[in-house]
Symmetry: C2
Subunit: 163 residues, 2 copies
């Protein structure tokens, strides 16, 4: 039972690590440029504070994921990792949502505010951002599952079991 | 000990409920308009999908907060509430971050994308959004504390206590 629990947790952590790593790499390598009236217009992730926050958060989660994966072999720090998973899940949720909100404006614009969509101009950039956000969103969901699973496992002995 | 724990949890829940309720009300009542070249330009929360998501999320969290507060008197559903707190915390974090990302563009614009700031045009709207986001952000932090506190309380009997 304890072994099954450990294997499930390690698989979830591997999945989350793969997702956060690819989200970071795909976002960092995203850039596209276009010349309009001799002025070069380059789209990069660091043009937006939300995208910068996203890259930093995904990188932190990747680093944490790697450390947590190694440490999860030692049961002495198990509980510390279960607790640390909560802020990491919130960090991922926060950064992915912020980046998604900006990407939505990039894709569709906002006619009320007079913001034009930019994806027609820099399609390669938008494709990268979309790919990265899918990975980032998956990572946030895996961490939600991980948190709920930890809680259920921790709470399980406290639930009354019917004979 | 169990009583102290219950009082702390109820105080945190009351704080979160107040924050989500005021975040919802302040955001819903935010609107400002300005006439430019005889065209009336109105800023409302439902002009942006991120702000709409924010209002829905804060309203859901308010409803949940009210129900959780009443149910937390009955210890039979204690564990269900502890588990439900996790997705609610993530919902609040997600919606606040998305709204914050859009508000940041509204405040400062994004010169790379050619998006102009709009807060000079509709200052009353921006003030309301700022106020609402402060309340929403506080609610997300209270839920993070609530989650960590529940985990610590649940894990406490499992920690080895040194004599």
């Amino acid at each position: 039972m304890a072994k099954t629990k450990r294997i499930i947790t390690i698989l979830l952590r591997l999945l989350a690590l793969g997702a956060t790593l690819s989200a970071t790499v795909v976002m960092v390598t995203s850039h596209d440029s276009r010349e309009v009236l001799n002025i070069k217009f380059t789209a990069k992730y660091n043009n937006s504070p939300s995208f910068k926050f996203y890259v930093i958060a995904e990188a932190i989660a990747s680093g944490y994921g790697l450390v947590a994966l190694f440490l999860s072999w030692k049961s002495s720090v198990d509980r510390l990792i279960v607790i640390m998973d909560v802020p990491i899940a919130m960090l991922l949720t926060s950064s992915t949502s912020a980046a998604l909100a900006v990407a939505e404006i990039g894709k569709k614009g906002n006619s009320h505010a007079g913001w034009l969509p930019i994806c027609d101009q820099v399609p390669k950039f938008c494709d990268h951002v979309t790919g990265s956000l899918i990975a980032g969103f998956s990572a946030a969901i895996v961490y939600l599952v991980l948190n709920l699973y930890s809680l259920l496992v921790v709470l399980a002995p406290l639930f009354p079991v019917k004979p």
